[in-house]
Each structure stands twice: as structure tokens, then as C-alpha cells.
């Protein structure tokens, strides 16, 4: 991603936005009201697709980190940066959506539930890696170190999840199209594809921006003053 023409990514984002509008309209106005939670349940149509795609983006960043360390190639570093940024944004969005759902359902904005806490830890862990990228000037060191840190942070995710799960658990069973009734799963599926297309478009464009910035960093610096033109007119009265 990122090496292709940006038009592809704009197209994917537009397609994703279209799917999201369609799925959200279905979820808000056509899908039936849930018996126990009422209208609050409708946040599931954006919350669950965001969760799937957040994990997908971070998994992709892990793949990019492995690919950079094994194969090299700046495109993997650009994709790593893009996937981490989009993954963090989705994780943060997930925490906000979870809090909006938790207040009327659990009576609190935040609870130390394994999935919620793991997401918060992920936001901080991967934000730390992005901060590291900002404070390293050498592009080679920046790429290698962020790949290493990304692998270590990603491997830590299941351990964080299980440790918090043993510590405290309140979250309901994970929602998938198999665990929800048929009138509910169509908007869920449509929005999942909408967020997926949006995510691919965002990662592609961000990766392109990272690539262009890298080109600027790796390009030889411009001379301090322009070189003398080859056919400069001779100064009048100059030495022969």
C-alpha cells in the first residue's frame, strides 16, 4: 500500500464512507430495537467493526515490522507508520465508543474490563512507538527501532489481555454475526466492510505521505547558494 496511485485510496475511502452510511442507516432506522438494552445497542454497528479493524490495522503493522526486519525496503517502514497511526486512532475511537455504551449499560464511563483495558494499553504502547519515531533523526535507526518495538508490543497484547482478564472481567460476550440474530447482522457486516475500506484507504494515503517525507529526508541537501551558471556573462573590465 502507498506505492499505487492515490486515486485508488480516495476511491476506497469514498466506497467505505458509502458503506458506512448505508450500514448506519440500516442499523439506526431499519434494524429492530434490542429487547433489553433498547436503542443503546445500536452503537454495536460501529463499535464492533471498529474493534475488528483496529486489531487488523495493528496486526498489519506487526506484519510490516517483520517484513522490514527480514526483507528491508522503505515501503514497509512507511506502511508500518501508517498502520500504527490508523490502528491507534481506531483503538482510541473504540475506547470512546465503549465509554458511550458503558455509561447507560453498566452505569460507569469506564470499567477495568479486559478488552477495554487492553485497548487502552495498546493506545499507550503504540503511541510510545510513534513518539520514538519523532525523536530519532536517522531514518535507518528510526525504522529498525520502531519495527523492533512494534514486534515486542504486539507480542505483549495477549499477555496484557489474559492478565487483565484474570484480574477483572465484566465485558459481555464478543459480538459477531454468528452471535447476533439475523435482523441485526446485516448492518454489522455492511459497516465492517465500510470501516475496512476506509482503513485501507487511510493507511494507503498515510503511507504515501510517509514515503514522500522520507524521500525529502534521504535526498541530498540543496547547496547553500546556487552554483555559478556555466555561461555567465563576463564582467566588464574583468581580467583577461
Amino acid at each position: 500500500m502507498g506505492d499505487e496511485r492515490p486515486g485508488v485510496f480516495y476511491g476506497l475511502m469514498a466506497l467505505g464512507a458509502g458503506f458506512l452510511l448505508w450500514g448506519s442507516y440500516w442499523g439506526l432506522f431499519l434494524a429492530p430495537r434490542e429487547t433489553y438494552m433498547g436503542d443503546v445497542q445500536r452503537i454495536m454497528y460501529v463499535h464492533v467493526p471498529t474493534a475488528w479493524n483496529a486489531m487488523l490495522a495493528l496486526t498489519y503493522s506487526f506484519v510490516c515490522a517483520l517484513a522490514f526486519l527480514m526483507k528491508g525496503g522503505w515501503k514497509w517502514d512507511n506502511r508500518l507508520e501508517a498502520a500504527m497511526e490508523v490502528g491507534i486512532a481506531f483503538c482510541a475511537l473504540l475506547c470512546v465508543q465503549g465509554s458511550i455504551w458503558a455509561k447507560p449499560t453498566w452505569g460507569v464511563w469506564w470499567d477495568w474490563d479486559p478488552r477495554l483495558t487492553t485497548m487502552a494499553v495498546l493506545v499507550f504502547a503504540f503511541s510510545g512507538i510513534l513518539a520514538l519515531r519523532r525523536f530519532v533523526d536517522d531514518p535507518v535507526k528510526r525504522a529498525v527501532w520502531s519495527s523492533v518495538a512494534c514486534i515486542v508490543a504486539y507480542v505483549d497484547v495477549p499477555i496484557v489481555y489474559f492478565s487483565v482478564k484474570w484480574w477483572n472481567s465484566l465485558h459481555q460476550v464478543q459480538s459477531t454475526p454468528q452471535t447476533v440474530s439475523s435482523p441485526f447482522h446485516w448492518p454489522l457486516r455492511i459497516n465492517a466492510f465500510g470501516v475496512l475500506f476506509l482503513m485501507i484507504g487511510l493507511i494507503g494515503l498515510r503511507s504515501r505521505v510517509a514515503g514522500l517525507r522520507l524521500q525529502g529526508e534521504l535526498a541530498p541537501p540543496l547547496p547553500e547558494r546556487p552554483a555559478a551558471p556555466l555561461l555567465a556573462p563576463k564582467a566588464q573590465g574583468g581580467a583577461r
Partner: protein, 220 residues
């Protein structure tokens, strides 16, 4: 053999800078004192949270220890000189990590009497607590040494190390606090074993993974 030489160098450096260990101990001790001010003079509440305070103190102190471990290698490009020696980067990593682990274990052992005095905590199983401190210190030092190697060469190193390390060691903090708390306050359901097992799993994964990745961090 290379590992032993690297470890010997690290321990010798630590021995020659004993004042640094003392300063870090004072930092940890003052953290324990400040935590008790935050909770108030309620002795039962202090006893209840003693394990958390001990591990927070140790975690905060660990950033100083870890950052310091690579400080000397940055002076006059000593790290490059070390890498030119016929010793692998992994030997260098494990030498530093074991040295940091020793330092953090000693710090944890030093903070226990202070915890007993300040928070009036009982100490029914001191050797089991020593085991938890050793396992927890190992969990802090393995990723901490790897991250210290990176941040010591970056700008804003004081900010970056805790920023990278703290979210990563959440499982260490959770399991070490739980295990310590159960050892201090009693363990009627026999849960300590599971928490220690989780801690050991974290240690095994991070000691092998970070050692494997270290040569990529220091190579130019």
C-alpha cells in the same frame, strides 16, 4: 564465556558506582513515603495497598537504573568499541539485562523492610516474596534493557523510556502486585501459583524475544 565477561564488566561498573545504587534506593524509598501521604494515615488501607506501592516504587526506580545502564556506553562512543570486540551483541544484552535484574532485585529486597515499617504489613512467607521480586524484576529488566538501548541514543531519552516501557510491563505490574498482595494478606484460594506462572511466562517470552532482537537495535 562472552556473557560472563560482559556480566563481569557490568557488575564491576555497578560496584564502582555504589553511590548510584544508593541514590536509586533513596528515590524508591521516598516514593513509598509519598504514596502513603496520598492514601492518608489509615493503616488498614495502607496495608491493603502495600503491594501496589512497593511495585510502583520499584517500577519508577527501574527507569533510572535502566537509563543509567546505557549512559556510560554513550560516552566517547563506547558502545561502538564494545561492538567491535569479538563478543556477540546478545552477550552484551544478556550481560546488561542480568546486571539490571540484579540491581532491581537488590532494590526490591531493600524496599521490603521499609514497606513492613511504613505500612505495617505482615511477612509470613519471606522466601516466596523474594521469588516474586526476582521474577518481577526480571520482567522489568528484559524489555527495559532493550528499550534503554534505543532511547539512550535518541533525543528526549528521559521521557521516551517510561513512555515505551510502562504500557508494556502492565502484565508484570498486575501479576507481581497480585502475587505480593496474596503473600502478604493471605491466599485462601491458592492463587499465587497462577500469578507467578503468568509472570514467568512474560519473563520467558521477553527474555528470549528481546535478546533475539537486540543485535538489530545496536547494529548500524
Amino acid at each position: 564465556m562472552q556473557l560472563l565477561a560482559a556480566l563481569h564488566k557490568e557488575l564491576l561498573l555497578q560496584w564502582r558506582t555504589k553511590a548510584q545504587l544508593l541514590a536509586i534506593f533513596i528515590f524508591g524509598a521516598s516514593s513509598l513515603l509519598l504514596f502513603s501521604f496520598a492514601v492518608g494515615p489509615d493503616s488498614s488501607a495502607l496495608r491493603q495497598h502495600a503491594a501496589g506501592f512497593l511495585w510502583l516504587g520499584l517500577m519508577l526506580s527501574s527507569t533510572l537504573t535502566l537509563a543509567e545502564s546505557f549512559q556510560s556506553e554513550m560516552e566517547q562512543r563506547a558502545l561502538e568499541g564494545l561492538l567491535l570486540l569479538p563478543a556477540g551483541a546478545r552477550a552484551l544484552y544478556y550481560g546488561k539485562a542480568i546486571s539490571n535484574w540484579t540491581q532491581l532485585t537488590l532494590l526490591g529486597i531493600g524496599l521490603i523492610p521499609l514497606m513492613v515499617v511504613l505500612y505495617d504489613t505482615p511477612m509470613p512467607r519471606p522466601f516466596a516474596l523474594l521469588g516474586v521480586i526476582m521474577a518481577g524484576a526480571a520482567g522489568l529488566s528484559a524489555p527495559g534493557t532493550l528499550y534503554a538501548a534505543m532511547t539512550s541514543q535518541a533525543r528526549a531519552k528521559q521521557t521516551l523510556l517510561p513512555l515505551l516501557l510502562f504500557p508494556l510491563v502492565v502484565p508484570v505490574l498486575l501479576s507481581a502486585v497480585k502475587a505480593t498482595s496474596l503473600l502478604i494478606l493471605g491466599d485462601p484460594m491458592g492463587q499465587v501459583r497462577d500469578w507467578v506462572l503468568l509472570l514467568l511466562c512474560f519473563d520467558a517470552i521477553h527474555w528470549s524475544l528481546c535478546g533475539f532482537l537486540f543485535d538489530r537495535v545496536v547494529e548500524d
